[in-house]
């Protein structure tokens, strides 16, 4: 039932008063069903732009993204998205947030209740079901956001720096949870991060992007068995290697900013 995500020659140009910004150029990727792929790169390299195109929030200027033999044109519950800012509905309780996507699909009450309870269990949220988001910690909120997307039972999960705002411990904890859920439910995950360590810890495959125009700099398979030990030599070799690639792009970013500043 699940199909690969085909990213076919995607370009994205933003027209701005200061001239065109080529955010994405010649992106060609195929993401297999069940694969865990990280998009890695410095700030501004187009990771969110690519993810938003897959989500259907922003159409590419050229090229297309095909899932199930259909080109993506709009957002939809087959591609659940977890945002860095959580984006929970603050006026809904934890349980209501999780149930909302199913209510939209007009599922039966009993079924919704069942799914919500399962997800509360799965993400250890049972004691928080009637809390409002404002009363939750960042880590808890992101659990709810993940549960909300899992409720859709979509084959694909898109995540834009979901753990970027969390402290290191909570972050590791949620990374482990995510891996556990991914192994259990067999989702395809496209995960944006600018943390090299996070990408090596999680991904089957890491796509390193260049800065302006955003292209694929390296498509790196990570073959290490899980759970991965960030202290192991193999982990650190890869970390050094990817670090070098990202630093190059970071440098280009910094140079570009310097040039801009000089023009001002």
């Amino acid at each position: 039932m699940s199909s690969p995500i085909l990213i076919d020659n995607v370009q994205k140009v933003f027209k701005t008063p200061g001239g065109d910004v080529v955010a994405l150029k010649d992106i060609n990727l195929t993401i297999q069903p069940g694969e865990f792929v990280c998009l890695l790169g410095p700030s501004g390299c187009g990771k969110s732009t690519l993810l938003n195109a897959v989500a259907g929030f922003q159409a590419p200027s050229d090229g297309q993204i095909v899932i199930d033999q259909k080109a993506i044109r709009s957002p939809g519950p087959d591609r659940g998205m977890v945002f860095q800012e959580y984006a929970l509905f603050p006026w809904m309780s934890v349980a209501q947030n999780i149930a909302f996507g199913l209510e939209v699909q007009k599922k039966e009450k009993a079924e919704i209740g069942l799914v919500v309870n399962q997800l509360l269990d799965l993400l250890h949220l049972k004691d928080f079901r009637d809390r409002f988001p404002k009363d939750l910690s960042g880590g808890m909120r992101q659990r709810v956001a993940i549960a909300r997307v899992l409720a859709l039972d979509s084959p694909i999960m898109l995540m834009d720096e979901p753990f970027g705002a969390l402290d290191a411990l909570t972050r590791r904890n949620l990374q482990d949870e995510l891996l556990r859920i991914w192994e259990k439910l067999g989702k395809t995950i496209l995960f944006v991060t600018h943390s090299i360590e996070e990408s090596i810890y999680l991904a089957d495959r890491i796509v390193v992007m260049t800065y302006r125009p955003g292209t694929v700099k390296r498509d790196q398979i990570v073959a290490m068995p899980r759970p991965r030990d960030p202290a192991s030599p193999a982990f650190n070799d890869l970390k050094r290697e990817l670090g070098r690639l990202v630093m190059e792009e970071q440098q280009r970013h910094a140079d570009a900013e310097m040039k801009l500043a000089a023009v001002d």
Binding site: F57, G76, M81
Partner: protein, 270 residues
């Protein structure tokens, strides 16, 4: 204990004013017709509150209690405020949602609204009488106008400030237009809308008192104007105090409702 202390602290100035006022009256500093003593006002207020006749056989306790002038007047005024407010806010809310959400509808209606908005509801009195005659309808009309604009402006602002991230999250969950309105935009805008409701009720309460001075023969506004004709200054002041108490009660009720509806909101403790 702390509460009692706070209360005593808050009561200090009003009590001092009352004592000073009473002392001045007793010393004969001003005439009782122009400025009655607080004790006289209190006595009048009590008489105004009590039912005129003894409870009749078969009459329910509630009906008897409300046969007193004060409760009857307070009830009439409150009824007009609520009815007028529901009409005004009931029109402002959907229009505000549409104007906030759709720039073309906004551009269509905004010029008219900007012209009408500065006209105080009081200025509509002649038209209100011409159109609706006497009785409750002109009051409803004036109060509705008083409530309309605060609710409208705040609803528009509320819809506009809805964080785009909620809209994106909702679209990602497959939400259609109607659900987006009712379950995302409307609740996200409620803090603003309720602030408008509070201002709107305040305006409605001012307008009801004025409107009762022109077209009806009960209500608190009518009563204090009537008392003036007989030079009953004690009753005028008793009526004014009742207006103050009713206003306070309404505002407390609205603020309670606010706290309940916004219990999810960051800015509020409880």
């Amino acid at each position: 204990m702390r509460k009692i202390k706070d209360f005593a602290h808050g009561a200090l100035v009003p009590v001092l004013v009352l004592i000073l006022w009473e002392a001045c009256s007793r010393a004969g500093l001003f005439s009782a017709v122009v400025m009655p003593a607080p004790s006289a006002v209190a006595a009048k207020w009590w008489a105004y509150l009590l039912p005129a006749q003894a409870q009749e056989a078969g009459q329910s306790w509630l009906a008897w209690a409300f046969s007193g002038e004060l409760l009857h007047d307070a009830y009439s005024s409150l009824y007009r405020v609520i009815a007028g407010f529901i009409i005004g806010a009931g029109l402002a809310l959907p229009l505000g949602l549409l104007m906030g959400a759709n720039t073309r509808i906004y551009a269509l209606f905004n010029p008219l609204m900007q012209i009408l908005r500065p006209i105080p509801p009081i200025a509509y009195i002649p038209l209100a009488i011409l159109w609706f005659g006497l009785g409750n309808p002109p009051s409803f009309f004036l109060i509705a106008i008083g409530a309309f604009f605060p609710v409208l402006m705040n609803t528009i602002a509320g819809v506009r400030q809805v964080d785009g991230i909620y809209l994106r999250a909702a679209r990602n969950l497959g939400v259609g237009q109607w659900t987006m309105f009712t379950r995302v935009i409307l609740p996200a805008a409620t803090p603003y809308i309720l602030a408008g409701v509070r201002i709107g009720i305040g305006t409605a309460f001012i307008v009801v008192i004025v409107s009762e001075m022109i077209a009806v023969n009960d209500g608190l506004g009518f009563r204090i104007l009537e008392a003036r004709e007989f030079m009953w200054s004690d009753k005028i002041i008793a009526g004014m105090i009742t207006i103050g108490l009713l206003g306070l009660a309404i505002d407390t009720a609205v603020s309670r409702l606010n706290n309940h509806l916004l219990r999810w909101h960051r800015g509020l403790e409880h």
